[in-house]
Subunit: 196 residues, 2 copies
Amino acid sequence: MSQVRTAGRPLDDELRERVLDAADRLYYERGIQAVGMDELRTAAGVPMKRLYALFGAKDAIVAEVLRRRSAQWETGVRAAVDAATSPRERLLAVYDHLAAWFGQTDFHGCIFINSFGELGGCSPEVAAIVRAHKAAFQDYVAGLVADAGGPPALAAQLAILAEGAQTTAAIAGTPEAAVQARAAAATLVDAAGLPG
Amino acid sequence: MSQVRTAGRPLDDELRERVLDAADRLYYERGIQAVGMDELRTAAGVPMKRLYALFGAKDAIVAEVLRRRSAQWETGVRAAVDAATSPRERLLAVYDHLAAWFGQTDFHGCIFINSFGELGGCSPEVAAIVRAHKAAFQDYVAGLVADAGGPPALAAQLAILAEGAQTTAAIAGTPEAAVQARAAAATLVDAAGLPG
DNA sequence: CATCGCGGAGAACGCCCGTTCTCCACCGTC
DNA sequence: GACGGTGGAGAACGGGCGTTCTCCGCGATG
């Protein structure tokens, strides 16, 4: 059952990582349907037979890519938030994290929004993963707002600002939506009259 | 040059409308790549030869659908805004318009955001149309804000809220993002201290 | 009425996709 | 060294796509 490393043959886990890394990059850059299994095979340097032995079907690779991105997003946001000190700054740290992300040269928008637009109408599995990811983010923001002593309605507003910033930055191809959203969030937070 | 109606054969303009209506509905419901030319031909009740004589290629149909939607969106938003009286209400009317739209049973999100996610990475033409559409909306909001005597920064914030509401409502499958965005917009507008 | 030409209906074509299968080189074992 | 089996590389397959082509019926014209 347990795997033993052989000289020339990488372990299944390493190979899965390599495939998912390549799939993530290609799907994110050009879209899921635009990247075929042959291109993925070539990019990952994995034999086709191995690819299907590891994942079974393209759908499974897509789902795994999305789940990985969701975990990475959560990790990144948490790190940015936890680096902030006051509850107010923790709320606004979300938008600073967005600003850093939008500024990256390979920024192509939110892969969940993109995937939902591409496959949400035809793939219930993709739709469910995207919905769960966004719901988790909203819950996280709700927790931050609650910690700050803000009203629940503020959480939904802050989440909408974050979504709008991602959409706007992706389509415009410029990162300024993050600072605009941050300013709006600061106004909303202040208007909510947080304690402390 | 000018067309003359013949008994059994519809005019080109009528046929174009029929094709674009069918394409709009199918592309919006299930995505562009998921709908083939054969299905569109069947749905529109138009012979394949006529379809290609009218449009030349699928790309042209896609572009035309998006341009039509852009004009329809502009018309709808303007109507909602012009029905409002005060400058403040005119700004918030945008979100009331969103609320009515999100509540429709066939709401599947913003076709521009969806199309950008699906084809933005591979089709410069689609990307350009989507970018132009969103830029036009931002300009329109900027005009409303200017008319209300608000600062330019407010316009970008209000546009981001509208984008975020569309994304959130589409993915969640529920319309409440519109009223949440409206509340946030009202807070931002009030915080901007508009005159009058 | 014979003929011409145009338009309707859908088959045909070439290509690409996701998935499976074939072939062969290479390894451990007797 | 002979051999069985496993994994690498990529061709093969069935299906669906966008686009083009063929065939046929019909109405206009002499």
